[in-house]
């Protein structure tokens, strides 16, 4: 799938396993440049990075740090997302991810902050892709 966001998440904290829960956590940073194409239309003269694009950054970070034992995963659901503050051109998103096993699949919970504080929280659910 192609992405509406140009910026790629940059790892700032390598995935680490939490022995207690069997989950994994990792940290990423995404620089939201004013040249992101979505700003032209969201909104003209009033650029706000769309909430769905914040979710897209989380998704790309999550998929760059999949638990090694998870196998092929496919996004099944957005369990929840909350948007707390606007993200603007020039912001640097700090994304803290945590993957946890959930039934047959995995859940990835993320907290997203800018330099001004927390901006969003996102919870994605992935299901294991059937072996071909």
């Amino acid at each position: 799938m192609t992405s509406p966001v140009l910026a790629a998440p940059r790892p700032v904290r390598e995935p680490a396993r939490d022995e207690g829960s069997g989950g994994w956590s990792a940290g990423f940073s995404v620089a939201i440049d004013e040249s992101e194409p979505v700003f032209a239309g969201h909104y003209p003269d009033f650029p706000i990075f769309p909430g769905v694009c914040v979710m897209e950054c989380v998704r790309r970070a999550a998929e760059a740090a999949k638990p090694p034992e998870s196998g092929e995963l496919r996004l099944a659901a957005v369990e929840s997302s909350r948007f707390l503050a606007a993200v603007r051109p020039g912001d640097e998103l700090a994304i803290e991810l945590s993957w946890s096993p959930r039934g047959e699949g995995w859940r990835c919970s993320a907290r997203v902050a800018t330099g001004r504080g927390q901006a969003a929280s996102v919870r994605l659910r992935y299901r294991r892709e059937a072996e071909a």
């Binding site: 032209a40 909430g51 659901a77 929840s80 948007f83 504080g117």
Partner: protein
């Protein structure tokens, strides 16, 4: 019922983020709109000569954006004059399930229903369908109108999508 020029007048979104083509039906409690997906979507511009089918799947989260814009057209109508000069933002969502991917050539029909309204916040639910089959289920999305100045970093409001 609302043609493309009416959609463009109702929403502040512009290219490449205006993701509703036409409203087919709108009442006080629900709205149905269409978004046609084509090979000319701007997101495909950077694909090389060997794009796979997977590369051409329409971005999942833009399907949510298109659905939300559909709900936003109804929200604006229900808010009436109270929405003048305000920016519509979504504050939260939950229970969004993806059933299958959408591809160029698909016409997505967005179905949004008002679940309830509390003060200046509206809660919508519904689904997205292609050829009558559900591709996306929306458990709930909350939306609110906020004055533009509230979005100033110094006065960050509770909703910001």
């Amino acid at each position: 019922m609302i043609t493309c020029e009416g959609v463009r007048a109702a929403l502040p979104h512009r290219y490449p983020m205006l993701l509703v083509d036409r409203v087919v039906e709108m009442g006080n409690e629900g709205i149905r709109a269409v978004k046609a997906v084509t090979l000319n979507e701007p997101w495909y511009a950077r694909l090389g000569p060997q794009a796979t089918r997977g590369d051409l799947a329409y971005p999942d989260f833009l399907l949510i954006e298109s659905w939300t814009q559909t709900a936003g057209i109804l929200a604006k109508r229900l808010a009436g004059e109270a929405a003048d000069g305000q920016v519509m933002l979504f504050g939260s969502m939950s229970g969004i399930e993806f059933h299958r991917q959408v591809f160029p050539g698909d016409t997505v029909e967005q179905h949004a229903r008002l679940e309830r309204a509390v003060n200046d916040t509206m809660i919508f639910e519904g689904d997205s369908r292609v050829g009558g089959e559900p591709v996306l289920t929306i458990g709930r999305i909350t939306m609110a109108f906020r004055p533009g100045e509230r979005l100033n970093p110094a006065h960050a409001g509770p909703a910001a999508g």
